[in-house]
């Protein structure tokens, strides 16, 4: 799957290859857990902190800092939740981890729970992934039988009871507080933060929630050291990132790339470039919640700092390529409809704003809009992004905002009153 990093890489996922428990152990698996248990939580946590691991679920929060917040809490009962809801359209990395290297994930969860002092945990897997659920259920049982999970793990006195929890078809349940509500048996609606889950999470107890990819990084860092981990990537963004590549490229698929590589390199070296005879028109980064950028911006490195400077959201690491036969407006509308469908309706900017934005897109695509509509759409986009209660509404505006910035001409060209003599810009 990967040309640049071979045996040394962190994920080693190859299509069709399921790493079972024996295999995992032969590859050095579960030696990290033994090491972590022997050296204690503080030393292990320092390794994660030195490695500079950041959350791969979208917000890129430093993982060690989150664990420290739990440790600072005096409450004895603490939970760990592995967020395997993976609802971001265009993303399939977590599914590959669960189905190909489930024990690397389970080992990561166990080490994270040990560092955080959590004794009970859940893996929240979306209902649309029955295969991943089955593999994880079986893997949990097997790890328990072999003493890697459950009571008194590897004779250390540390215990973790881990259960699989199935989602039931809701993108919003990937949001951490909505996910907690869902486990509590309620509708998956988000709660106000603070308090953060690290303070008051599941059943109001301190809870560590991490993404699948984040947790699956942990065993390698403990096993091979923070400095080994830092030999990949850049000082700002160490390690590697799993990229879900789809759309108009020669090779679609899952690729593990070192941070610091540019988006252009990912698309040409791993994706084989655009389809024959076509040119890239736009690239969507970070799934439906992400941005649409023009080819000129593809020379930005995949790096948290560099991307935040240019307004690129790495998010889940999905890259979706659109060639010059594609319409920006209909792609943006596809995303809008997704969010409209997934909005929980609790707050007006998200519920009504998205509905109105969708109506304007309808008019634009039907050739019935006027230029005034484009500036109205811009105003609505700001309201949706700035006034929505949770991350769904806030991120829903990303593709609107970026497409209005980089593909404004395409919006204007669709307007009925767009005569070349009034090219001057409308302002909101």
């Amino acid at each position: 799957m990967n040309k640049m990093l071979d045996d040394d890489q962190i994920f080693n996922i190859s299509p069709g290859r399921h790493v079972d428990l024996d295999h995992h152990c032969q590859n050095g698996g579960y030696s990290a857990l033994a090491k972590a248990l022997a050296q204690g939580p503080e030393t292990s946590l320092k390794e994660i902190s030195d490695a500079g691991l950041r959350g791969r679920g979208g917000a890129a929060f430093p993982t060690a800092e989150k664990i420290k917040m739990l440790r600072a809490n005096t409450e004895k009962l603490r939970y760990i939740i592995c967020n395997a809801d993976e609802g971001e359209p265009g993303t399939f990395k977590d599914r590959f981890i669960m189905t190909h290297i489930p024990f690397q994930l389970l080992e990561g969860i166990t080490i994270a729970a040990f560092m955080a002092g959590a004794s009970e945990g859940y893996i929240y897997v979306r209902h649309e992934y029955p295969e991943a659920q089955k593999i994880l259920r079986e893997s949990i049982e097997e790890a328990e039988r072999r003493g890697f999970l459950g009571e008194n793990i590897l004779g250390s006195g540390f215990s973790l009871s881990l259960k699989l929890f199935s989602g039931a078809g809701s993108y919003l349940c990937g949001e951490e507080t909505a996910l907690i509500s869902s486990i509590e048996g309620k509708k998956g609606r988000p709660r106000l933060k603070p308090p953060y889950p690290t303070q008051a999470g599941l059943w109001q107890k301190p809870t560590l929630i991490n993404n699948v990819e984040t947790l699956a990084n942990i065993p390698k860092i403990i096993e091979k050291s923070a400095s080994w981990y830092r030999s990949f990537g850049t000082p700002d963004s160490p390690g590697t990132k799993l990229i879900s590549l789809s759309g108009d490229v020669q090779n679609r698929g899952l690729f593990e790339v070192p941070f610091g590589i540019t988006f252009a390199e990912i698309i040409s070296e791993y994706g084989g470039g655009a389809k024959t005879g076509k040119a890239i028109k736009a690239v969507n980064i970070g799934g439906a919640s992400g941005v649409l950028i023009p080819p000129e911006m593809l020379f930005t490195p995949l790096e948290y700092l560099a991307c935040s400077k240019t307004g690129i959201t790495i998010g889940s690491g999905a890259i979706f390529v659109l060639d010059d036969t594609r319409s920006i407006l209909s792609n943006v509308q596809n995303r809008l409809r997704f969010f409209l469908h997934e909005s929980c309706g609790k707050c007006t900017p998200c519920r009504e704003g998205l509905r109105q934005a969708n109506l304007i897109l309808d008019r634009l695509l039907a050739g019935e809009a006027v230029r005034q509509d484009v500036s109205t759409l811009e105003r609505y986009t700001r309201a949706i992004q700035e006034a929505s209660f949770c991350g769904l509404g806030q991120a829903a505006g990303n593709s609107l905002r970026s497409s209005l910035a980089y593909y404004r001409d395409e919006y204007l060209a669709s307007c009925r009153d767009n005569k070349p003599s009034f090219i001057e810009e409308e302002t909101a």
Binding site: G90, E128, Y129, A168, S170, I183, E184, K186, A288
Partner: protein, 159 residues
């Protein structure tokens, strides 16, 4: 003991298990749905109000309060699949089944639904039938899969 009582006993009566119980009850239902009687019984068995059971069940798109077909065909509607010619697959399926999204064939064999990204965008367009995902689809391939399922069912009926 009723099937629902069995499910509740297997999972437990804690509130946290409500969603898992609902999913298991729906899975065991021949019409792939959560009936009114099932809601009543879950509410009784778990000692959770009926409105709470409804409120939880109605929030999630994989739970249906209406009876559905034996096989559920879900078509992915997100951008990577849409760009990979989802429309032609959908048209072929609609024509083969004679139903629209959200409907069930009169023989009760198939329901057609839309679904969010199946995590199979590297083989878009993708659809899911029951628990299996099919990628790199053509309209002909989609129709062939449906015809196979129908044939399998007829063979079972005749056996």
């Amino acid at each position: 003991m009723t099937a629902i009582k069995e499910v509740v006993n297997r999972f437990g009566k804690e509130e946290a298990l409500l969603l898992q119980v609902i999913l298991a009850v729906q899975d065991a239902d021949p019409q792939n749905h959560l009936s009114e009687e099932a809601v009543n019984e879950i509410s009784r068995e778990m000692n959770i109000s009926r409105s709470r059971v409804y409120s939880t069940a109605s929030f999630y798109s994989e739970i249906s309060l209406k009876p559905r077909g034996m096989h559920i065909i879900r078509i992915c509607t997100n951008a990577p699949c849409e760009n990979a010619n989802k429309a032609s697959i959908l048209a072929a399926i609609k024509q083969e089944l004679g139903i629209k999204i959200g409907q069930t064939t009169t023989d009760g064999l198939f329901s057609l639904e839309s679904v969010n990204c199946l995590g199979a965008c590297y083989m878009s367009p993708a659809i899911k039938i029951d628990d299996a995902v099919y990628g790199d689809l053509t309209p002909e391939a989609a129709v062939a899969i449906i015809r196979n399922l129908r044939k399998e069912y007829q063979n079972e009926q005749n056996a």
